[in-house]
């Protein structure tokens, strides 16, 4: 990361000599954008449709009107309900269906906006990935640095059904930080979050002493963070005393299953958690007593973690869409023309967007024992 920052700094210096140029005339016309990715996570699947606005007309948004959508499952159209325009976050039109999609279902899309070609796409709902046996062990370095820790997860699984899909596993960590203040005769508590950004360092053999056979096939280099808007302490609903308390913060790291076909075998994933920001949450780290977990001023902190493994079985479109989205996050150099650029993934004909499906199975929550 530091290397990238150094290079970005160099680019920032160069950017002192910037000047504007005309981009109009080099942009494509408005297209039909569709996003529909169904899974077994929710009973409702949303379908977004919108006429895109060419950047050259950025100050004059294209209004989506008169659109129609149809999704067939195994040749039979399913019902959609049109929701109110959401505006704000998404200025297009939103449709919802509660149809239950089953593995093996063949889906077909037709989406039309007047004045444009009808956008079409197809997808097949993948089979679920069988939940494997798994075990874990901790990185011993965690004992020395609370800001860096690592956990190795080993998965053992039988053949996944089918071989046309893409398989991935996500490690989810929920964390909570409780700060209790001693008032002489009782504790009062307030709650915060430890922002630990997990990163899959590698998959393969994750012995951190001799990880010789390293295979870096991370699906996501950056974690997906479901974080509150601020990192402040939250006293809402606080209760004194240690234990599990919401709100938690979830952080997730993805890793591809090797060879993407999930043939029988074992598979190790090494996840590190960088918790730099936990220090920002401490009011005075210099008074922290690691022996008693209290500060000299009568505070004590309780940190709780729990984990879950989620196994994903994607069809090709939803996998590529996910991967392309994450690649875009690191495309600063590509956006400047200094590295190969990746396009927004699409499997929509005569349009743009994604039409796909994935299935999820997951473990129960568990705690890592020391």
């Amino acid at each position: 990361m530091k290397k990238i920052l150094y290079m970005l700094s160099a680019l920032a210096v160069l950017s002192a000599c910037e000047y504007e140029f005309e981009i109009e005339g080099q942009m494509s016309d408005s297209q039909t954008y569709v996003r529909f990715v169904t899974s077994n996570v929710s009973d409702t699947t949303l379908l977004f449709i919108q006429a895109t606005t060419p950047l050259k007309d950025g100050s004059h948004p294209v209004v989506t009107q008169g659109e129609s959508v149809q999704v067939k499952v195994n040749g039979t159209p399913i019902d959609f309900e049109k929701l109110e325009d959401r505006g704000g976050e998404f200025a297009g039109k939103v449709y919802a269906t509660t149809h239950r999609f089953n593995p093996g279902d063949r889906l077909e899309l037709e989406a039309a906006i007047p004045g444009r070609k009808t956008a079409t796409a197809s997808a097949t709902v993948p089979q679920e990935f069988p939940q494997p046996k798994w075990r874990y062990w901790k990185d011993p370095s965690s004992a020395y640095d609370s800001n860096e820790s690592g956990i190795c997860f080993e998965l053992e699984y039988d053949n996944a059904p089918g071989s046309s899909g893409r398989y991935a596993v996500a490690i989810i960590e929920e964390t909570s930080l409780q700060k209790d203040t001693w008032h002489g005769d009782n504790w009062t508590g307030e709650y915060g979050w430890i922002i630990r950004e997990p990163q899959v360092i590698h998959t393969g053999n994750c012995s951190w002493y001799t990880p010789a056979d390293v295979t870096i096939t991370t699906l996501g280099q950056d974690p997906l963070l479901f974080c509150p808007e601020t990192f402040n302490w939250d006293s809402r609903g606080s209760e004194p005393g240690p234990g599990w308390h919401h709100p938690f913060i979830e952080a997730m790291a993805w890793a591809d299953i090797p060879d993407k076909t999930a043939r029988k075998g074992t598979h190790q994933i090494f996840v590190t958690y960088n918790a730099d920001k936990v220090q920002e949450a401490h009011p005075d780290p210099s008074t922290w007593d690691p022996a008693t977990h209290t500060t000299g001023e009568g505070f004590r902190y309780t940190t709780s973690y729990r984990y879950k493994l989620i196994f994903y079985s994607f069809d090709e479109a939803s996998y590529n869409y996910q991967k392309a989205q994450e690649s875009d996050e690191g495309s600063t150099f590509a956006g400047l023309g200094l590295a190969p650029a990746s396009l927004t993934y699409t499997n929509i004909r005569d349009g743009i967007g994604v039409f796909g499906a994935y299935r999820v199975s997951e473990s129960d929550w568990f705690k890592i024992t020391e």
Partner: protein, 846 residues
Amino acid sequence: MNTKNRFFRSAGTLILALILLGPAALAQKKTTQQQLTRKECVEAVSKTFNVKFVYDASISLDDVYTGMSLGMVTDKRPGAEKISLQECLDRLFEDSGIVWNRKGKHIVLKKGTSHPVHREEPAPELSIIYGGGDYDHDADTLEASRVSTDRMKMAVRTQTGLTRLDASKINSGFAIFNSPDLIKTIQRLPGVSSGTELLSGLYVHGGTGSDNLYLLDGVPLYSTSHLIGLFSSFNSDVVDDVDFYKSGFPARYGGRLSSVVDVNTREGNMYEWHGNFSIGLIDGRFQIDGPIVKGKTSLNFGLRRTWLDAVTIPGLMIANIYAGRSAGEKYAGHYAFWDMNLGLTHIISDTDKLQFTFFNGMDNLRGSYESYLSTDYDKDTHEHVFDFSKRQDNTDIRLGWGSTTAGLTWNHFFSDELTMRTRLSYARSDNKTKFDYSEWDYDRTKPAKLESSYFSKEDNRSKVHDIILRSDLDWIPSDIHHVRFGASFQHHIYNPDRKAHYWLENHDEKTVLIDTKSSQAYHGEEAALYAEDEISIGNRLTLAPGLRYSIFSTGKKTYHSPEPRLAMRYDIGRDVALKFSYTDMRQYVHLIQTLYLDLPTSSWLPCTETMKPMHSSQIAGGVYARLPHDLHLEIEGFWKSLDHIYEYNGPFSLYPPIEKWESSFSEGKGRAYGAEVAFGWTGENTDIDLAYTLSWSQRFFPEFYHTWYFDRNDYRNMLNITATHRFTNRFEIYGGFTFRTGGRLTLADQVIDPTKDEQVAYIYNTLFTTPYNVRMPSYHRLDLGMNFKKLTRRGNERTWNFSIYNAYCHLNPIFADISRDEDGNYKGKAFGAIPVIPTLSYQLKF
């Protein structure tokens, strides 16, 4: 024995047979001296004795020289007669109507009165004869002296797309920071673009930039630039000539798709010591050549080095003293490059000559930063007090890259009709980067005690080793045939290596966090056989068919392929020729990089089972004419297809993933087509050249986009105009104007939520629908230069050069992106960084 081993053993045997037996069967005719024009003899004298000829425009040297033998000057057999310069000149101009007069290293020619001077058809192969020097007393002659060039050659060579540059052409060009640059001279030729501002990239006919074959004395060179591409690795002081091919590749060349840059260094003078010394703003050069054993063994040595580090190191030390102490920080850094060329030539016998060449070029860049522990804070002055014995963190970055080549060549003359050259050579490329970071945590009670330390070290290296055995034979069995054939065998080792070591130290206890070592070693064997013949059919038609058969084996996979070549020329009258060529090329090595910048983070890796050899086919043709009034015109068209080319498709990373690199690259196709015009005029004191290219370059990568799209280096129009004018023998000027349509980059072109007016709306709600959809602003700049020359009393030539790069300071774009203004409109923003760069240098030739 498996098939692969059998093949390579057979290839080795064949090379040996070519060396030992083939020539004997072909060497039938007795040695006879070839007939040369007097101009060709002058050129040979100039090269042999390192002198320059100055002569009046009315003097023609195009008659065939039929006088006494000039010995080793024109007879390349190692045992030929050795004669002095004076004897040579006496023989050459005897009864010619021309008188010569020597002034230092200049030979001034004048018309005599007793003999007529015949003006016949110009010889096809003119050489550059450079007039100059301090001859006030000969002013009447020098006013009319002329500079001849080789541009007329295009009309008489069979190949399309060939440009031959000799040393004086390269050295007469613009110099930035002291050094004339061979690659930048080539960048001005039609059909060639340079890519990023200032860098030494060559993008030829839609090529990728990594598909150019650079040969230095016949040995492939992987790393061809210094200072992140600002300088090329070719020291113009030692370069003799360069053959640059962009189409019509003869069968003797192979291994790259788009161009061949065949650089030959000069042999040392066998009789006199000469040299030159040059000093500029950031670098200096030194070259010397002469006899070790007169007439037998010679040496040519060139050295070039920058002294930027001599400026930056003390500069940063001073900055640390005055600014760093108050901030508790220390910076250090330096940059240096150097290259060294060594050539040894030894004449063994009348028929045998040995040559040893060596090249080493390296770049080293280092930067470091340290911060120190603040132990106190003065509230009144708001200043920290630092303990400079306690570091808080340290960052150290080191980059190094370079190449080494060495070659031993044996030249054997069987006869005037048959010669052989066999070379054993070694080439190495070495790219390395190191990133070290350390952090120390202290117990801040006074005095502060070290609690724990954190260290990370990353070491990346990518090396290539080539061992090459090659034999080439040149056979002229009759007046209508010129046959070349040969074989080569190369053993390649590609060795990318990456180490990461992260650890904690806590109260003398070390805990390793990460210790990864990723090392790959690919071995590849490459062999090739070729044969080509230049056949004259009647007076007007010349055909040059050729065939190269190449084979490459790595791991379990072996690729092999015929590569047919054809060139033809049809002369329409004396001054106009039509040409056509077809070439088929294979490239068995890929440059693996995640950035388009010329950084040592990239690796050369071979074809594998999944990564196929790149392939190109190209046809080119055109008309080449010498026009009245010393004008010349060349119009050439080309069409090229590229297959199995690869582009990185993974998430951004400074380094390509060497463990699974094959799955991180997508395969695609390319095609390029266009037309080029070269037009020029050569006056007595003025040269003007104009090169215009209209071209299209496209790519098709099914994983990226469903149809063909324009490539990043799709420069629609390119125009280069260069002019030199010599006012007097002491003063000449040079000007070069470059224009090209801007390159392309991929920017978002659709937005799905344009209602937000924050910049974030661009980042998160935009869609990238078309690759390389935006053109950057056009590139243009003007370079100017002037030379002030004078001969010293000792006959040495000294030159002051003053050059201005980008004279009107146009900040050409290096990169660009899109941002949104307050009104919701999206604007392209280009970023340029290279302003006007003045350069002053001094050169002394002795």
